[in-house]
Point group: C2
Chain length 225, copies 2
Amino acid sequence: MPVAKPAFLFDLDGTLVDSVYQHVLAWHEALQSERIALPVWQIHRKIGMSGGLFANMLLRETNLEITPERLDRLRSLHGAAFRRHGVTVRPLPGAVELLKFLSERGVPWAIATSGRMETAGPSIASLGVDPARTPVVTRDQVEHAKPDPDLFLAAAERLDHPIEDAFVVGDSIWDILAARRAKALAIGLLTGGYGESELERSGAFRVFGSPADLLKHIDEVGVRR
Amino acid sequence: MPVAKPAFLFDLDGTLVDSVYQHVLAWHEALQSERIALPVWQIHRKIGMSGGLFANMLLRETNLEITPERLDRLRSLHGAAFRRHGVTVRPLPGAVELLKFLSERGVPWAIATSGRMETAGPSIASLGVDPARTPVVTRDQVEHAKPDPDLFLAAAERLDHPIEDAFVVGDSIWDILAARRAKALAIGLLTGGYGESELERSGAFRVFGSPADLLKHIDEVGVRR
Protein backbone atom coordinates (compact mmCIF):
# COMPACT_ATOMS: atom_id res chain seq x y z
CA MET A 1 0.00 0.00 0.00
CA PRO A 2 1.56 3.33 -0.98
CA VAL A 3 1.98 5.93 1.71
CA ALA A 4 -0.73 8.56 1.55
CA LYS A 5 0.26 11.99 0.32
CA PRO A 6 0.16 14.66 3.00
CA ALA A 7 -2.11 17.65 3.25
CA PHE A 8 -1.32 20.78 5.27
CA LEU A 9 -3.69 22.49 7.69
CA PHE A 10 -2.37 25.90 8.67
CA ASP A 11 -3.11 28.03 11.66
CA LEU A 12 -3.22 31.72 10.64
CA ASP A 13 -2.06 34.18 13.35
CA GLY A 14 1.61 33.71 14.17
CA THR A 15 1.94 30.92 11.61
CA LEU A 16 1.25 32.58 8.25
CA VAL A 17 0.91 36.22 9.33
CA ASP A 18 2.98 38.12 11.91
CA SER A 19 0.12 39.19 14.16
CA VAL A 20 0.54 37.50 17.55
CA TYR A 21 2.17 40.37 19.41
CA GLN A 22 -0.39 42.85 18.10
CA HIS A 23 -3.19 40.55 19.32
CA VAL A 24 -1.44 40.22 22.68
CA LEU A 25 -1.21 43.97 23.29
CA ALA A 26 -4.75 44.47 21.95
CA TRP A 27 -6.04 42.02 24.59
CA HIS A 28 -3.87 43.70 27.21
CA GLU A 29 -5.41 47.09 26.40
CA ALA A 30 -8.92 45.61 26.38
CA LEU A 31 -8.33 44.03 29.80
CA GLN A 32 -6.88 47.25 31.21
CA SER A 33 -9.99 49.13 29.99
CA GLU A 34 -12.01 46.69 32.10
CA ARG A 35 -9.55 47.12 34.99
CA ILE A 36 -8.46 43.49 34.74
CA ALA A 37 -4.77 43.16 35.63
CA LEU A 38 -2.99 40.31 33.86
CA PRO A 39 0.73 40.31 32.97
CA VAL A 40 1.28 40.50 29.21
CA TRP A 41 3.26 37.24 28.93
CA GLN A 42 0.31 35.31 30.36
CA ILE A 43 -1.93 36.73 27.64
CA HIS A 44 0.71 35.75 25.08
CA ARG A 45 0.62 32.14 26.25
CA LYS A 46 -3.19 31.98 25.90
CA ILE A 47 -3.49 33.53 22.44
CA GLY A 48 -4.93 31.10 19.88
CA MET A 49 -7.21 29.25 22.28
CA SER A 50 -10.97 29.62 21.95
CA GLY A 51 -12.63 32.75 23.34
CA GLY A 52 -14.66 30.70 25.80
CA LEU A 53 -11.59 29.01 27.25
CA PHE A 54 -9.78 32.36 27.26
CA ALA A 55 -12.62 33.70 29.44
CA ASN A 56 -12.35 30.70 31.76
CA MET A 57 -8.63 31.31 32.03
CA LEU A 58 -9.28 34.94 32.99
CA LEU A 59 -11.69 33.80 35.64
CA ARG A 60 -9.16 31.33 37.00
CA GLU A 61 -6.16 33.67 36.99
CA THR A 62 -7.86 36.81 38.26
CA ASN A 63 -10.74 35.47 40.37
CA LEU A 64 -12.97 38.08 38.74
CA GLU A 65 -16.41 37.27 37.55
CA ILE A 66 -16.42 37.13 33.76
CA THR A 67 -20.03 37.60 32.70
CA PRO A 68 -21.16 37.13 29.07
CA GLU A 69 -21.68 40.93 28.90
CA ARG A 70 -18.16 41.59 30.10
CA LEU A 71 -16.77 39.07 27.65
CA ASP A 72 -18.67 40.77 24.82
CA ARG A 73 -17.25 44.14 25.85
CA LEU A 74 -13.75 42.65 26.04
CA ARG A 75 -14.11 41.13 22.56
CA SER A 76 -15.24 44.41 21.12
CA LEU A 77 -12.46 46.37 22.91
CA HIS A 78 -9.92 43.84 21.63
CA GLY A 79 -11.32 44.16 18.11
CA ALA A 80 -11.00 47.94 18.18
CA ALA A 81 -7.46 47.83 19.62
CA PHE A 82 -6.41 45.19 17.09
CA ARG A 83 -7.68 47.30 14.21
CA ARG A 84 -5.29 50.03 15.42
CA HIS A 85 -2.34 47.66 15.88
CA GLY A 86 -3.20 45.62 12.80
CA VAL A 87 -1.72 48.13 10.36
CA THR A 88 1.72 46.68 11.14
CA VAL A 89 0.68 43.06 10.40
CA ARG A 90 2.54 41.42 7.50
CA PRO A 91 2.82 37.90 6.06
CA LEU A 92 5.61 35.97 7.78
CA PRO A 93 8.81 35.24 5.82
CA GLY A 94 8.15 32.48 3.30
CA ALA A 95 4.40 32.21 3.97
CA VAL A 96 3.26 33.36 0.53
CA GLU A 97 5.98 31.27 -1.17
CA LEU A 98 5.12 28.15 0.83
CA LEU A 99 1.40 28.31 -0.05
CA LYS A 100 2.24 28.98 -3.70
CA PHE A 101 4.65 26.03 -3.75
CA LEU A 102 2.05 23.65 -2.29
CA SER A 103 -0.61 24.83 -4.75
CA GLU A 104 1.74 24.36 -7.71
CA ARG A 105 2.57 20.85 -6.55
CA GLY A 106 -1.08 19.98 -6.09
CA VAL A 107 -0.57 19.42 -2.37
CA PRO A 108 -3.90 20.12 -0.62
CA TRP A 109 -3.86 22.78 2.07
CA ALA A 110 -6.34 24.75 4.12
CA ILE A 111 -6.40 27.41 6.85
CA ALA A 112 -8.01 26.81 10.26
CA THR A 113 -8.09 29.72 12.71
CA SER A 114 -9.55 30.39 16.16
CA GLY A 115 -10.26 33.92 14.92
CA ARG A 116 -13.51 35.04 13.35
CA MET A 117 -13.78 35.88 9.66
CA GLU A 118 -14.14 39.55 10.59
CA THR A 119 -10.61 39.78 12.07
CA ALA A 120 -9.06 37.03 9.93
CA GLY A 121 -10.24 38.50 6.60
CA PRO A 122 -7.54 41.17 6.13
CA SER A 123 -4.78 38.72 7.16
CA ILE A 124 -5.99 36.14 4.65
CA ALA A 125 -6.16 38.80 1.96
CA SER A 126 -2.57 39.89 2.74
CA LEU A 127 -1.44 36.36 1.86
CA GLY A 128 -3.09 36.60 -1.55
CA VAL A 129 -5.42 33.76 -0.55
CA ASP A 130 -8.89 33.72 -2.12
CA PRO A 131 -11.33 32.20 0.44
CA ALA A 132 -13.60 31.28 -2.47
CA ARG A 133 -10.95 28.87 -3.78
CA THR A 134 -9.11 27.87 -0.59
CA PRO A 135 -10.82 26.19 2.37
CA VAL A 136 -10.68 28.60 5.30
CA VAL A 137 -12.32 27.42 8.52
CA THR A 138 -12.92 30.12 11.11
CA ARG A 139 -14.21 30.10 14.68
CA ASP A 140 -17.71 30.95 13.42
CA GLN A 141 -17.98 27.60 11.61
CA VAL A 142 -17.33 25.11 14.41
CA GLU A 143 -18.66 24.49 17.87
CA HIS A 144 -15.37 24.47 19.75
CA ALA A 145 -12.12 26.20 18.83
CA LYS A 146 -8.57 25.14 19.80
CA PRO A 147 -7.35 23.23 21.76
CA ASP A 148 -10.41 21.20 20.75
CA PRO A 149 -9.82 19.42 17.44
CA ASP A 150 -12.93 20.72 15.60
CA LEU A 151 -11.22 23.38 13.46
CA PHE A 152 -8.62 21.00 12.05
CA LEU A 153 -11.15 18.18 11.60
CA ALA A 154 -13.41 20.54 9.66
CA ALA A 155 -10.49 21.75 7.53
CA ALA A 156 -9.48 18.17 6.62
CA GLU A 157 -13.08 17.38 5.78
CA ARG A 158 -13.26 20.42 3.51
CA LEU A 159 -10.20 19.03 1.68
CA ASP A 160 -11.76 15.57 1.67
CA HIS A 161 -8.44 14.35 3.08
CA PRO A 162 -8.03 11.92 6.01
CA ILE A 163 -6.88 13.92 9.06
CA GLU A 164 -4.42 11.13 9.94
CA ASP A 165 -2.45 11.96 6.78
CA ALA A 166 -2.42 15.71 7.39
CA PHE A 167 0.18 17.91 8.98
CA VAL A 168 -1.08 20.70 11.18
CA VAL A 169 1.22 23.74 11.12
CA GLY A 170 0.95 26.12 14.06
CA ASP A 171 2.90 28.46 16.33
CA SER A 172 1.17 27.88 19.67
CA ILE A 173 0.79 24.92 21.97
CA TRP A 174 -2.99 25.17 21.39
CA ASP A 175 -2.44 24.25 17.75
CA ILE A 176 -0.22 21.33 18.70
CA LEU A 177 -2.63 20.06 21.35
CA ALA A 178 -5.60 20.36 18.98
CA ALA A 179 -3.63 18.52 16.28
CA ARG A 180 -2.91 15.66 18.66
CA ARG A 181 -6.55 15.44 19.66
CA ALA A 182 -7.39 15.28 15.94
CA LYS A 183 -4.72 12.56 15.32
CA ALA A 184 -2.72 14.72 12.94
CA LEU A 185 1.02 15.28 13.22
CA ALA A 186 1.86 18.82 14.28
CA ILE A 187 4.63 21.03 12.94
CA GLY A 188 5.52 23.89 15.25
CA LEU A 189 6.88 27.26 14.09
CA LEU A 190 8.82 29.65 16.31
CA THR A 191 7.12 32.66 14.71
CA GLY A 192 4.53 33.07 17.48
CA GLY A 193 7.17 33.58 20.15
CA TYR A 194 6.92 30.25 21.96
CA GLY A 195 10.24 28.61 22.74
CA GLU A 196 11.26 25.49 20.84
CA SER A 197 10.92 23.18 23.81
CA GLU A 198 7.49 24.51 24.77
CA LEU A 199 6.34 23.34 21.34
CA GLU A 200 8.20 20.06 21.62
CA ARG A 201 6.84 19.38 25.08
CA SER A 202 3.30 19.88 23.83
CA GLY A 203 4.00 17.17 21.27
CA ALA A 204 5.23 18.80 18.06
CA PHE A 205 6.49 16.30 15.53
CA ARG A 206 8.99 18.86 14.18
CA VAL A 207 9.76 22.51 14.91
CA PHE A 208 10.91 24.96 12.23
CA GLY A 209 11.85 28.63 12.50
CA SER A 210 9.39 30.10 10.01
CA PRO A 211 7.28 29.22 6.95
CA ALA A 212 10.44 29.89 4.89
CA ASP A 213 12.34 27.36 6.99
CA LEU A 214 9.55 24.79 6.58
CA LEU A 215 9.57 25.31 2.80
CA LYS A 216 13.34 24.76 2.79
CA HIS A 217 12.86 21.42 4.56
CA ILE A 218 9.57 20.44 2.93
CA ASP A 219 11.02 17.13 1.68
CA GLU A 220 11.49 16.12 5.30
CA VAL A 221 7.70 16.08 5.74
CA GLY A 222 6.75 14.08 2.71
CA VAL A 223 6.60 16.58 -0.15
CA ARG A 224 9.08 15.81 -2.92
CA ARG A 225 10.43 18.71 -4.94
CA MET B 1 33.43 30.62 57.81
CA PRO B 2 29.80 31.72 57.62
CA VAL B 3 28.13 31.72 54.22
CA ALA B 4 27.90 35.22 52.78
CA LYS B 5 24.48 36.87 52.74
CA PRO B 6 23.08 37.34 49.26
CA ALA B 7 22.40 40.56 47.43
CA PHE B 8 19.97 40.90 44.52
CA LEU B 9 20.69 42.63 41.22
CA PHE B 10 17.50 43.15 39.25
CA ASP B 11 16.97 43.69 35.58
CA LEU B 12 14.14 46.19 35.02
CA ASP B 13 12.08 45.62 31.82
CA GLY B 14 10.19 42.32 31.96
CA THR B 15 11.58 41.57 35.43
CA LEU B 16 10.16 44.30 37.67
CA VAL B 17 7.89 46.12 35.20
CA ASP B 18 5.64 44.61 32.52
CA SER B 19 7.13 46.44 29.54
CA VAL B 20 8.74 43.86 27.24
CA TYR B 21 5.91 43.52 24.73
CA GLN B 22 5.48 47.27 24.46
CA HIS B 23 9.22 47.60 23.75
CA VAL B 24 8.98 44.80 21.18
CA LEU B 25 6.16 46.45 19.20
CA ALA B 26 7.81 49.86 19.55
CA TRP B 27 10.96 48.45 17.90
CA HIS B 28 8.81 46.73 15.29
CA GLU B 29 7.15 50.03 14.39
CA ALA B 30 10.51 51.83 14.32
CA LEU B 31 11.94 49.19 11.98
CA GLN B 32 8.89 49.33 9.72
CA SER B 33 9.27 53.12 9.49
CA GLU B 34 12.77 52.47 8.16
CA ARG B 35 11.42 49.73 5.86
CA ILE B 36 13.34 47.04 7.72
CA ALA B 37 11.36 43.78 7.74
CA LEU B 38 11.98 41.60 10.78
CA PRO B 39 9.42 39.20 12.30
CA VAL B 40 8.24 40.38 15.70
CA TRP B 41 9.29 37.24 17.60
CA GLN B 42 12.91 37.80 16.52
CA ILE B 43 12.80 41.30 17.98
CA HIS B 44 11.33 39.81 21.18
CA ARG B 45 14.28 37.45 21.52
CA LYS B 46 16.80 40.30 21.19
CA ILE B 47 15.21 42.73 23.64
CA GLY B 48 17.44 43.47 26.61
CA MET B 49 20.72 43.21 24.78
CA SER B 50 22.84 46.31 24.24
CA GLY B 51 21.86 48.72 21.44
CA GLY B 52 25.17 48.13 19.65
CA LEU B 53 24.69 44.37 19.60
CA PHE B 54 21.04 44.87 18.59
CA ALA B 55 22.29 46.83 15.58
CA ASN B 56 24.78 44.09 14.71
CA MET B 57 21.96 41.56 14.93
CA LEU B 58 19.88 43.66 12.52
CA LEU B 59 22.79 43.79 10.13
CA ARG B 60 23.22 40.03 10.35
CA GLU B 61 19.55 39.10 9.99
CA THR B 62 18.58 41.59 7.29
CA ASN B 63 21.84 42.13 5.39
CA LEU B 64 21.04 45.85 5.41
CA GLU B 65 23.67 48.41 6.16
CA ILE B 66 23.05 49.83 9.63
CA THR B 67 24.83 53.18 9.69
CA PRO B 68 25.23 55.19 12.92
CA GLU B 69 22.73 57.73 11.49
CA ARG B 70 20.17 55.01 10.81
CA LEU B 71 20.71 53.58 14.28
CA ASP B 72 20.13 57.02 15.79
CA ARG B 73 16.90 57.39 13.80
CA LEU B 74 15.78 53.92 14.89
CA ARG B 75 16.49 54.73 18.54
CA SER B 76 14.51 57.91 18.33
CA LEU B 77 11.60 56.22 16.50
CA HIS B 78 11.58 53.47 19.12
CA GLY B 79 11.59 56.07 21.89
CA ALA B 80 8.59 57.86 20.40
CA ALA B 81 6.65 54.62 19.82
CA PHE B 82 7.46 53.39 23.33
CA ARG B 83 6.18 56.62 24.86
CA ARG B 84 2.85 55.87 23.14
CA HIS B 85 2.78 52.20 24.20
CA GLY B 86 4.26 52.94 27.62
CA VAL B 87 1.00 54.18 29.10
CA THR B 88 -0.01 50.52 29.62
CA VAL B 89 3.19 49.62 31.51
CA ARG B 90 2.66 48.48 35.12
CA PRO B 91 4.81 46.91 37.84
CA LEU B 92 4.75 43.11 37.57
CA PRO B 93 2.83 41.13 40.23
CA GLY B 94 4.82 41.10 43.45
CA ALA B 95 7.58 43.44 42.27
CA VAL B 96 6.81 46.27 44.69
CA GLU B 97 6.27 43.78 47.56
CA LEU B 98 9.52 41.92 46.81
CA LEU B 99 11.64 45.10 46.85
CA LYS B 100 9.91 46.27 50.04
CA PHE B 101 10.53 42.90 51.69
CA LEU B 102 14.22 42.95 50.82
CA SER B 103 14.61 46.52 52.08
CA GLU B 104 12.89 45.68 55.36
CA ARG B 105 15.17 42.68 55.87
CA GLY B 106 18.24 44.74 55.10
CA VAL B 107 19.04 42.60 52.08
CA PRO B 108 21.02 44.75 49.62
CA TRP B 109 19.55 45.13 46.14
CA ALA B 110 20.07 47.23 43.04
CA ILE B 111 18.67 47.66 39.54
CA ALA B 112 20.80 47.19 36.40
CA THR B 113 19.18 47.87 33.03
CA SER B 114 20.28 47.97 29.39
CA GLY B 115 17.89 50.90 28.99
CA ARG B 116 18.85 54.53 29.33
CA MET B 117 17.73 56.64 32.28
CA GLU B 118 15.41 58.56 29.94
CA THR B 119 13.24 55.48 29.17
CA ALA B 120 13.88 53.68 32.47
CA GLY B 121 12.91 56.65 34.66
CA PRO B 122 9.12 56.30 34.56
CA SER B 123 9.33 52.53 35.12
CA ILE B 124 11.55 53.01 38.15
CA ALA B 125 9.19 55.65 39.50
CA SER B 126 6.20 53.29 39.04
CA LEU B 127 7.93 50.86 41.43
CA GLY B 128 8.16 53.54 44.10
CA VAL B 129 11.96 53.33 43.90
CA ASP B 130 13.93 56.47 44.68
CA PRO B 131 17.11 56.44 42.53
CA ALA B 132 18.71 58.76 45.07
CA ARG B 133 18.53 56.00 47.70
CA THR B 134 18.69 52.83 45.58
CA PRO B 135 21.61 52.03 43.25
CA VAL B 136 20.28 52.09 39.69
CA VAL B 137 22.82 51.39 36.95
CA THR B 138 21.70 52.29 33.42
CA ARG B 139 23.22 51.82 29.99
CA ASP B 140 24.63 55.37 30.12
CA GLN B 141 26.92 54.45 33.01
CA VAL B 142 28.87 51.50 31.61
CA GLU B 143 30.85 50.79 28.48
CA HIS B 144 29.07 47.60 27.42
CA ALA B 145 25.52 46.52 28.17
CA LYS B 146 24.18 42.95 28.38
CA PRO B 147 25.17 40.24 27.60
CA ASP B 148 28.46 41.77 28.72
CA PRO B 149 28.76 41.66 32.52
CA ASP B 150 29.49 45.38 33.08
CA LEU B 151 26.00 46.42 34.29
CA PHE B 152 25.81 43.75 36.97
CA LEU B 153 29.44 44.24 38.01
CA ALA B 154 28.81 47.97 38.41
CA ALA B 155 25.62 47.30 40.40
CA ALA B 156 27.45 44.95 42.80
CA GLU B 157 30.20 47.51 43.20
CA ARG B 158 27.64 50.22 44.02
CA LEU B 159 26.33 47.90 46.77
CA ASP B 160 29.91 47.16 47.85
CA HIS B 161 28.92 43.49 47.69
CA PRO B 162 30.98 40.68 46.09
CA ILE B 163 29.35 39.74 42.77
CA GLU B 164 29.98 36.05 43.55
CA ASP B 165 27.51 36.31 46.43
CA ALA B 166 24.83 38.10 44.42
CA PHE B 167 21.80 36.76 42.59
CA VAL B 168 20.99 38.36 39.28
CA VAL B 169 17.24 38.35 38.58
CA GLY B 170 16.20 38.70 34.94
CA ASP B 171 13.66 37.64 32.33
CA SER B 172 15.83 37.30 29.23
CA ILE B 173 18.69 35.05 28.25
CA TRP B 174 20.84 38.21 27.97
CA ASP B 175 20.48 38.72 31.72
CA ILE B 176 21.38 35.11 32.43
CA LEU B 177 24.38 35.15 30.08
CA ALA B 178 25.63 38.45 31.55
CA ALA B 179 25.20 37.05 35.07
CA ARG B 180 27.29 34.02 34.20
CA ARG B 181 30.02 36.21 32.71
CA ALA B 182 29.95 38.18 35.96
CA LYS B 183 30.13 34.96 38.07
CA ALA B 184 26.79 35.60 39.75
CA LEU B 185 24.00 33.04 39.98
CA ALA B 186 21.04 33.94 37.78
CA ILE B 187 17.37 33.64 38.64
CA GLY B 188 15.11 33.64 35.59
CA LEU B 189 11.53 34.94 35.57
CA LEU B 190 8.93 33.93 32.97
CA THR B 191 7.51 37.47 32.91
CA GLY B 192 9.41 38.52 29.79
CA GLY B 193 7.81 35.80 27.68
CA TYR B 194 10.78 33.46 27.32
CA GLY B 195 9.99 29.80 27.87
CA GLU B 196 11.28 28.09 31.01
CA SER B 197 13.76 25.89 29.17
CA GLU B 198 15.17 28.78 27.15
CA LEU B 199 16.13 30.34 30.48
CA GLU B 200 17.40 27.06 31.89
CA ARG B 201 19.45 26.33 28.78
CA SER B 202 21.12 29.70 29.05
CA GLY B 203 22.21 28.73 32.55
CA ALA B 204 19.59 29.96 35.01
CA PHE B 205 20.15 28.66 38.54
CA ARG B 206 16.39 28.76 39.19
CA VAL B 207 13.33 29.88 37.24
CA PHE B 208 10.27 31.43 38.91
CA GLY B 209 7.01 32.64 37.38
CA SER B 210 7.05 36.24 38.59
CA PRO B 211 8.48 38.52 41.29
CA ALA B 212 5.55 37.36 43.46
CA ASP B 213 6.59 33.75 42.93
CA LEU B 214 10.22 34.56 43.79
CA LEU B 215 9.10 36.32 46.98
CA LYS B 216 7.06 33.25 47.94
CA HIS B 217 10.17 31.05 47.56
CA ILE B 218 12.72 33.59 48.79
CA ASP B 219 13.97 31.22 51.50
CA GLU B 220 15.12 28.88 48.73
CA VAL B 221 17.67 31.48 47.64
CA GLY B 222 19.21 32.26 50.96
CA VAL B 223 16.91 34.86 52.54
CA ARG B 224 15.37 33.71 55.79
CA ARG B 225 11.99 35.08 56.73
